[in-house]
Subunit: 201 residues, 2 copies
């Protein structure tokens, strides 16, 4: 069916790295009338399925609608046995480690997966199964919340693809992910922000 699925993350975070408050609250995000479109619709148009965790699923259901239309949504959970979803939603429950999930979805010919939610993103990153990371930073510090990133067993080098900033203050950076590298142990000498030249671009 044409090889392994590619997986992307497209997410908004506060500048201090949270995707939601501790209770799932998103009140700190600008409304559609407060910021510019920043490529979500174009990105989603390239996606064959959403892969989300239980928490994200519950937050989305809490909105009262169903943000995914008729696009397939895979909800990952070790504890849920049944999904109750809005009428018309194409949604199924799966469990397994990220590699198993990607293998199963690849077999179905789903070429591009949109992986969302803190725990789910962290699991896929740790397994080396995210190829693209698009982070839109909202100009606010919220001080606590659900972090986008978590513990990784190794460094993950990113390749910067592009950064776009918007008049409302959004800054969107897009990274491709290369192979995971083992951290070098020796600390380099020198101040962490030291630079020699006096003429930056």
């Amino acid at each position: 069916m044409g090889g392994k699925s590619l997986a992307s993350v497209f997410v908004a975070t506060s500048v201090d790295g949270y995707i939601a408050r501790l209770d799932g609250g998103l009140d700190w995000l600008p409304g559609d009338d407060e910021c510019e479109p920043h490529g979500y619709d174009e990105f989603v148009a390239t996606v064959d399925a959403h892969v989300i965790g239980r928490k994200t699923f519950e937050i989305v259901l809490g909105f009262g609608g169903w943000a995914y239309g008729t696009k397939p949504v895979v909800v990952l959970s070790k504890t849920m046995t049944k999904l109750k979803v809005p009428k018309g939603a194409v949604c199924e429950l799966m469990s397994g480690d990220p590699k198993e999930i990607v293998d199963r979805l690849s077999e179905r010919g789903l070429k591009h997966l949109y992986v969302d939610g803190g725990v789910t993103v962290q699991g896929f990153l740790n397994a080396g199964l995210i190829q693209r990371l698009v982070i839109t930073r909202i100009p606010v510090l919220i001080g606590s919340g659900i972090p986008l990133f978590g513990f990784l067993g190794h460094d993950v080098r990113l390749k910067h693809v592009a950064t776009r900033s918007y008049p409302s203050g959004l800054v969107q950076s897009e990274y491709a992910i290369g192979k995971a590298v083992t951290s070098k142990v020796a600390a380099r000498s020198g101040s962490r922000t030291r630079s020699k030249s006096t003429t930056p671009p």
Copy 2:
């Protein structure tokens, strides 16, 4: 002596928000030969004093040199009673909350303070005493470490000033900090990255 000191942060972080590994290691930072100058020297030229915490002080000393030249450095510590510094360093110990520190340095006519180190930055941010934040994101996830940001008792709105990206993959965003705002409690309905238009800039 001309009003209260202004305080800035100029710092490099991994994309997952760390300023150092848990042991203080900075091996994940690109060397001067691996990335472009990104304004550190120009920034430091505007600074009247560095304000750092004990940990940052110890990390800097560990480099074996003294990164600050003859510029005044204030080391904040509740536990240290004496500083042992390299010859020629202009360095003194202070304790007190961020407001007391800023008041004392303002009285001396120090107009621009460079606040550095996770705990110190977090304390000053929480006290509403940082006016400028320049964060240079290094294109790597290190998975654990000393975070730049920590708990805040309230949201801090940022005003995006500029973002610059560099061929090596560094992305530098500069924010001005306005007044702290109390968080709105109600969660907005809608997906957190939803946008309506299909033509982003």
